[in-house]
Structures are given as C-alpha cells and as structure tokens.
Symmetry: C2
Subunit: 239 residues, 2 copies
C-alpha cells in the first residue's frame, strides 16, 4: 500500500531514508528527526497481526502530517509464530513494576530483527543508504532488541549480508533515541513540531482506540508528559 500525501515539494530533491513507523510516540519523533536532518523519509509500517491495529491508522496520520510522500505497509504473519501478548491471546500486564528486570510478555520474539530485515531488503532494492528506527534502551520495556549492542550487531549484518555492504556502502542503521529518556524524546519531538495527539502507544487500546493507561507503554509515556508539566494529548479510556 502506498499513500501519497498532497504536500508540495518534489520527493526526488532530497536523499531518501527509510523510517520504521509504528504510529507510536518514538517512531513519530524519529520521523521528525530524519526530516530535520534533511532526508526525504520513506515510511515503512507492518501489519503483523498486532492486537493494537489502531497504531497503523496513527502511523498513517503521523506520516500524512509529516508530509511523507511514500508510506509502505507490509503484511507480516507473526501470529503463526506466536509467543507474545501483542499478537496472541495472552493478557497484557497492567500497572507492572517498570523496574522489573525480566523481559515482559509483550515482547514480540525477534520483531525488530524482522522489521529491520525488511527495511534492509527495501534499502537494498531501492538503493537507499539510511534506515531510522525508534528503539530505546532507557525507558523501553527491557526488550533485548532495543539495546546499543543489538544495533551494532545489525549494522554488522548490513555490512556483510547485502550487495551494498559488499560494495563498501552498507545501509546505516540510525537509532537516534536509543540513549534518550522518554522525557528527552518528547522534548525533542515538541521542538520539531510533532503532534503527539496523533500518536498511539498503548498495547491494549479500547475499541475507540483510546489508551488503557495502565500497560507499560501507557505508564512510561504518561509519566514523561507529567514530568514535563504537560498532559499527554493522546486519548485515554480513564480520562
């Protein structure tokens, strides 16, 4: 699926970059950062059997608001793999201790590896040299595939596993949020004009697409807005 926005300006005039866009707060910020760095973003989203499909509609709105010329939504079957509360019929934990050390049940096995593998394939096929992803090791949920060492390993894979890499110009993987707190991420996004009211981060939204307010993702996000003296502009069921 390609969505062409109506914004003026030629998509060919700037260097392109692939931006993984979930519709959440982090990836919306990354999209704004890629644009601020002078790149023309090609937004890449996945319909992967997630329970929180509202995020794809959020991704569409975020991309449109940012004037993205091409937004590709790839169908992925992760349900056949299972193993996560985000794609299977397992309960999403609520009001969990965010300091807990274990990898939570909302972790989707190897999801970022699959997403980045697709981005790498698209970069290779289109001759695009930069890939942006909104992974975060600080205020994330303790997922193994959100850490700097993981990012370095994938960069190595980009260098060794592609034609571009063999030719000495591997696609670079950028994770500009990886060492930022959620507060810093929101501050950066607000400076860049991100409308966080369009973004959706909840793992377990209601039928109207409103956040539950109590999953890890809602807890981290709302706490950060509170710390900034702001109210999270996204809708919540408990408001």
């Amino acid at each position: 699926m390609n969505d062409e926005s109506t914004q003026a300006g030629s998509p060919g005039s700037r260097q392109r970059a692939i931006v993984l866009l979930s519709g959440g707060l982090d990836s919306a910020t990354v999209l704004a950062i890629a644009k601020a760095e002078g790149l023309e973003p090609l937004a890449l989203s996945f319909r992967y059997g997630q329970r929180h499909l509202i995020e794809l509609e959020a991704a569409r709105q975020v991309a449109a608001a940012a004037g993205v010329h091409e937004h590709l939504v790839v169908e992925l079957d992760l349900r056949s793999i299972g193993g996560s509360a985000l794609t299977a019929d397992l309960p999403v934990p609520k009001d969990r201790d965010l300091q807990a050390a274990e990898v939570p049940v909302t972790y989707v096995p190897a999801r970022n590896t699959i997403f980045l593998a697709y981005a790498l394939a698209l970069a290779e096929a289109r001759g695009i040299g930069d890939i942006y992803i909104g992974i975060n090791a600080i205020d994330g949920s303790g997922y193994p595939d959100c850490r700097p060492e993981y990012l370095a390993a994938f960069q190595q894979l980009s260098a060794l596993g592609t034609r571009a890499g063999v030719e000495g110009r591997p696609a670079r993987i950028h994770a500009p949020l990886i060492n930022l707190s959620k507060v810093k991420i929101i501050q950066r996004g607000l400076e860049l004009g991100v409308d966080y009211g369009l973004t959706r981060s909840c793992y377990d939204p209601d039928q109207a697409g409103r956040g539950c307010g109590h999953c890890d993702s809602c807890l981290v996000r709302r706490r950060a807005f509170r710390q900034l003296g702001l109210v999270d502009p996204a809708p919540y069921a408990d408001q």
Copy 2:
C-alpha cells in the same frame, strides 16, 4: 499451514531444530543432516512471491519423505520490495559464466536475513535452540548472504537480539554446507538417502515444474551430478 506426516514415532522424543526448507537440493540435504544428528526437524518454508512456486510443492514432498512432523509455510510479501529476477518480472540469466564476480540479478535483497529473522522468532517463541540453513559459499551464485562472515554476524544477532540470547542460550545457526562443493553436498545427501528427484532448484521452471537447465542453479546442479557420473534425477525441459 501445518502438514502432519504419517510417519510413526513421537515428535516429542527428540530435541527439535528448525530447518529452512526451500525444496531445493541444498536444503533437502540439510534436512537429512539435521535428522542424522538426532534432531526432530521443524521445517520452515516461505511463500514469498517467488516465480518458481513449484519449489514449495517440492518442499512439501521432501518434508513428507523425511518424515517431518511439522512443516510451517509462512506468507511473506517480498514482491512489494522488488529488486530481484526471482520475485519481479526481470529475465533470469541463462548460461551465465559461473565464475563471474558480480552479484547476479537473481539475488533477492536480504532474503536470507528475512528468512533467518523469522526462524529466530520461531525459535524464540517455541524454545528451540538450533536453526539449520543450507547456505553455501562455494558453488552458490555469489550472494553476499551465503558467506561464513555473514553467518557469524547473524549468530551475533541471535546472541544479542533475543531473550534466549540474553539468558545465555542463544539459538545456534548451523550451515553445514557452507564450505562444501556441490559434488560433496550431493555425495553427503546420497549417503543419507535423500531422493533428489523430489527436489527442485531451477530459478525459471516451466509450467510442468521442469528445470530450464540453463539458469545458474540448473548449471551448477547438473554439472555436479555429471562430475559424479550420475544423471540428475530431477526433470528438465531439455531432456
């Protein structure tokens, strides 16, 4: 899709391993090797928009002949990514010089990375510790993602990007053919009883599923059988 074979024996009595199974000569050999090593193979294939869909039927037959209890076929949309003669409307090169240095047009961008990412997700979700893949650096077609250094990079990703890896028991990626010639691969498979008449390797088969005899894959395969004083038992259109 799960195909249950009718072979006797409990699938739970041996340690499981994921085997990437394309229906070609190499992966059929790898399947036999995994079995010979005492593992219970879970075969994993992909319907990825390939022109040579006959290979999925071959994969089904190879898995059945090997008594595989579970054969998972995952749908992947690689056509939306494009960039390869195997998934797009580009001509498959015929009677090419196999010593040529360039990466040929049949290379599917980052395909093995996507396949291995899925295998890694499945291993993580099912608690499986071993993944087998039939990549080969010797008589392959010069694809970057068939080399030992690529394999090492993916092993590192397995260690760093999964819960199992963080817990000190990353899924191991096995590529038992990586340094074997096609002749040696066939010799090993014949020792293990592989019926190569069931396998299909051609990039451009005819409607009846017969090999063209002239793409890289057919050239390498038939030459190896000739060198062994054998006739390739797979059907070819020019026979």
